[in-house]
Amino acid sequence: MNTNHAASNNALESVFKERPEFRHIIDIVEPRSSVLDLGCGEGNLLRALQVSKHARVQGIEVSDTAIQECVAKGLFVYHGDLDEGLADFNDHSVDYVILTNVIQVLHRPDFLIREAARVGKHCIILIPNFGHWRVRLQLMLFGTMPRTRSLPYEWYDSPNIHLTTIQDFTRFCENHGLEIVQRTGFVLGEGKCRKVRTKPNFFADYAIFVIRKP
């Protein structure tokens, strides 16, 4: 049992090294709550929540190889497209609906965010911030589509079709009657996740929003 414990801690550490922002998300989640991760990938965040918060987790993911990885982690996942929505879930039936790095690839992000806020008591949404100064600078100085650590793609091969800034997303929530419970900008790098307290829309390359439908 001790070896298992150590093994899962090691697995957690390597996940955090790759995705340091997960620590912050995990801190938000109350122990033993229910979590639905939309676009859960290989299930690393869900597994980490299971291990460290004993959360009751489930995910939705479109990639078949990622689904295999999730099942290999003992997770319950649904193989499908997020643009199909969450019709099977009742209002406020899940404690946390999580969207990490997902809304910018959806065809109708507004639809899914509203759905997520309907289903989840809270939604935790991680977005890359298009308002970051590097993004602004590249466009202004060089007149090129920005490529940064959080947005590494060329204009033609980017899956990101609905990019947003912290400012835009804040306004979206206000206009759609969604309460922002928490908003944290941060800078990611080399296994670290540093919070940005001053002018996050300018200095943060990611932001985590915790929102809810009052």
Partner: protein, 410 residues
């Protein structure tokens, strides 16, 4: 699958008759092997069974096979339920020179998806079948002649009720898993609502909660082919010539629905059969015709036409959303964890049918994983996509069991 069986039997002969052939599995990382020579057992139900149709059937005999060892607390039993034309012989061989392995041999055995070194695997032939279980070709005790059409109509529920009697007879009060593809998947679903306390995990594969009108239509054409054969004789043909040409056509229709447009292109194209140019007649010209003829001809040697009528009818009747009309409501009796699998090119039981099942399960807040495996094989994929399916199943069995206290490990 045929090719694999041939390779396996060649391997067996190469081993000087030894029935333990081993190969490396990329799924479990261990050696896989054959269960070897196995024997069919028979179980006689202690009492007649009251059927859905209101009639009583008895005595009932079920043919079954088992692989692996039942553990001390009888908690490692996996029940495999077979499809329309399957039987109890899932894996291994019936004798040392048997060339034909069981129908899911690539999934059942040491180191395979249903690892017989770990699990006790059980499969029984359905009631209504013709592979050792009581069916229309069995002797009717009140006439001492084969039942024929005097055999009462059986349903998927009746098949499951008979299996339950066998499971209890083996002293098993709770199954680790019930798994099956196609009509087997229907029985899996039926198990989860009829006997929820007896099922810990369920894996319905390439199946549906209610047969679609399209599938009913294909069944109807198959039955018409059989009944139009003069040899069918109102179902009373035992002792004479069976309706082979009718049954053969029914099987050919079935096989068309098991393939996909794409798999037919890949497998046959417009290729000609054993010739370079057309003969301009109605004999076999194309490879696809030859394939269907072969499937039809070989099927009639191993299957009873009346059983085909009864079993396809049982599938037609299957609608898990009855009586309430709500699948979610009917599935609310289920308590186990589910792995639902569909295949992208299956047009007989398309993906949306599996999604309907998943949707109903999620509405009941049940633990469910759903995977759609990308495949060109059509409905047949559940027998052919061994690697993807095995990976899912191995991990699901390992981790999803609600009794395994996995949270204690953290």
């Amino acid at each position: 699958m045929e090719a694999k069986n041939v390779i396996l039997s060649l391997a067996l002969r190469a081993h000087g008759g030894s029935l333990i052939s081993m190969s490396n599995s990329s799924i479990t990382g261990t050696q896989t092997g054959s269960v070897g020579v196995v024997e069919t057992h028979y179980y006689d139900l202690p009492e007649p069974l009251l059927l859905n149709c209101g009639k009583t059937l008895g005595p009932i005999r079920l043919a079954y096979e088992t692989y692996g060892q039942l553990n001390a607390d009888k908690s490692n039993c996996i029940l495999i339920v077979h499809a329309l034309t399957g039987d109890a012989h899932v894996a291994g061989f019936h004798s040392a020179d048997d060339k034909r392995a069981g129908w899911w041999d690539n999934m059942v055995g040491p180191g395979k998806a249903f690892n017989t070194e770990k699990y006790f695997v059980l499969c029984s032939n359905i009631v209504g079948g013709c592979k050792g279980s009581t069916g229309p070709s069995s002797i009717n005790p009140s006439t001492n002649r084969p039942y024929g059409l005097d055999f009462p109509m059986v349903t998927i529920q009746d098949m499951v009720n008979a299996q339950k009697s066998l499971v209890e007879h083996l002293g098993i009060s709770r199954l680790l898993c019930v798994v099956g593809g196609s009509m087997g998947g229907m029985q899996v679903l039926q198990w989860t609502v009829a006997y929820p306390e007896m099922v810990r995990l369920a894996i319905p594969i390439a199946t549906t909660a209610r047969l679609s009108p399209q599938a009913i239509a294909f069944d109807a054409v198959g039955r018409q082919a059989i009944m139009a054969d003069p040899n069918w004789n109102g179902g009373d043909y035992y002792g004479g010539n069976p309706p082979s040409s009718g049954l053969s056509v029914a099987r050919m229709i079935g096989h068309i629905t098991y393939l996909s447009d794409r798999s037919m292109h890949q497998k046959f194209g417009r290729g000609l059969q054993d010739k370079a140019c057309l003969d301009y007649n109605f004999k076999t010209e194309f490879q696809v015709e030859s394939y269907l003829n072969y499937q039809g001809d070989s099927f009639v040697k191993r299957f009873d036409a009346n059983s085909y009528l009864y079993i396809t009818r049982a599938m037609d009747y299957f609608d898990l959303s009855e009586p309430s009309g709500s699948l979610a409501k009917e599935l609310s009796r289920a308590t186990c964890a589910f792995l639902v699998v569909s295949f992208s090119s299956d047009w007989l039981f398309p993906t949306y049918m599996s999604k309907e099942i998943v949707s109903a399960l999620r509405r009941n807040s049940l633990d469910v994983s759903y995977a759609e495996i990308q495949s060109d094989y059509g409905h047949d994929a559940f027998l052919l996509e061994v690697e993807s399916l095995s990976r899912l199943i191995v991990n699901f069995l390992e981790y999803a069991d609600p009794d395994s206290n996995r949270f204690d490990e953290y």
